[in-house]
Symmetry: none
Subunit: 143 residues, 4 copies
């Protein structure tokens, strides 16, 4: 499978965190999931609150399982809160429908997984995810 | 570990309850969690309804896991109800996003845990939590 | 209601912990539940592992809900493991069927609640619970 | 806080994985949890099965929450299967009681968290966890 290697996942995480630091963001936490919604790698920045794995995971997990980025999920939640609540029921409460969950695609447009970032504002989290993905090379971010 | 000792947790609980009594509040229940969101101590005031552990715990647990006090969570819930609903899914339904969940910090600003108070109005619960924390000495309350 | 006051619950907890210290036990954690299985008070001894609330609660909760002390539950678990597994399904996974969950009765034999102790061996946990209950006065322990 | 920094967690993970490779083990997955049972970092080796986060996490989570390494939990599970089943109910099914969950202590013996390794035999997983911890410097492994 032409999936995301651990090496690539590490690069995404480091670059997303570096982006956050260079922009003066609060400590970020970053997860990379594969195209089955399973965790490849996660790091919680020093000083971040303890529950950050769950939030980062929820952003990325919803993106993979629904095939919708966090931004698209947020739009849906604002239009139809009950839909996202129902989706959360289906997926065991593991969907966090706000920006910062970013789908990863390869050069042919195939979904390879998603990145979830949390720690600062949702918009900044999303920017860090995109920065990490673009720095990794060969991948397209769908925020 | 520079955490909260049981002795300090007891003091916080007693002082919060005394504050409630001196202000004529309804019977309070108070929990103290450590910086990992785990329970150190809890007391339910005589006459309080039986489910108070869950409410007190939920106020403090959300505060620790998200690094946001109950008041900040309430603001987020009012702006983006679906976000706090999603956070609750992630944390097993154990987040109660209203005032009365107060983060504890040490003199250097590090989060040591949180206090959760329930029983009266959310504002009064919060005031009791702050009173308990301040009476314990050496701690800062972030309501 | 002639239930367990917070004052009495505090005494039980302190005396159980003092018993543990005087006997050289590891740090104990102690919960007191009322006759509805709801938490009145809990304390985790300094140095105890973070998950002790859940274990102490599970010992006492099973005792109240089933009307069987931890020792009786253990006997049942050894004879019919599937029964205790099924009971745990019914009660949301909150039953820990080993010694250390001790039913509290008043002078007339009515169940007022239960004490759960954890931290050392199950037998020592149970001895500390009994010591705490007996020191509180007017209560009978059913280990 | 004298906890485990992300930098240290990364070192533990890399060194555990390198140990696995040098010993010819199957691809390993490694998680590092803090002393509250919350995730600091995780990596899944290329070629490992998708569910490895849950297994690695369960080994480390049980170790932190119960204050017992995976080896001690396995002994307890073999002596009293219903106890470990009950502990799993209490902790939401997140406890995997086999070797590979290793407690981390500092020079003074305080628990700082735990490492969970999965992918090869439980004994090999445990050896990789210990190798990672020892390579990180200043930490003691309790397998």
């Amino acid at each position: 499978m032409a999936g995301i290697s651990l090496r690539k996942a590490r690069t995404i995480i480091r670059k997303a965190m570096e982006h956050g630091k260079s922009e003066g963001m609060k400590p970020l936490s970053v997860v990379v999931l594969d195209d089955g919604g399973n965790v490849i790698a996660f790091e919680r920045g020093d000083g971040a609150s303890p529950g950050r794995f769950g939030i980062a995971h929820g952003k990325a997990y919803g993106a993979v399982m629904l095939g919708m980025s966090g931004r698209a999920q947020m739009a849906r939640a604002e239009a139809q809160a009950y839909f996202m609540a129902a989706a959360n029921g289906v997926f065991g409460g593991s969907v966090v429908p706000v920006p910062g969950g970013v789908i990863l695609r390869d050069a042919k447009g195939r979904m390879l997984g998603a990145v979830g970032v949390t720690g600062d504002t949702s918009e900044n989290d999303e920017a860090a995810a995109v920065a990490g993905i673009e720095a990794a090379g060969g991948l397209t971010a769908e925020p």
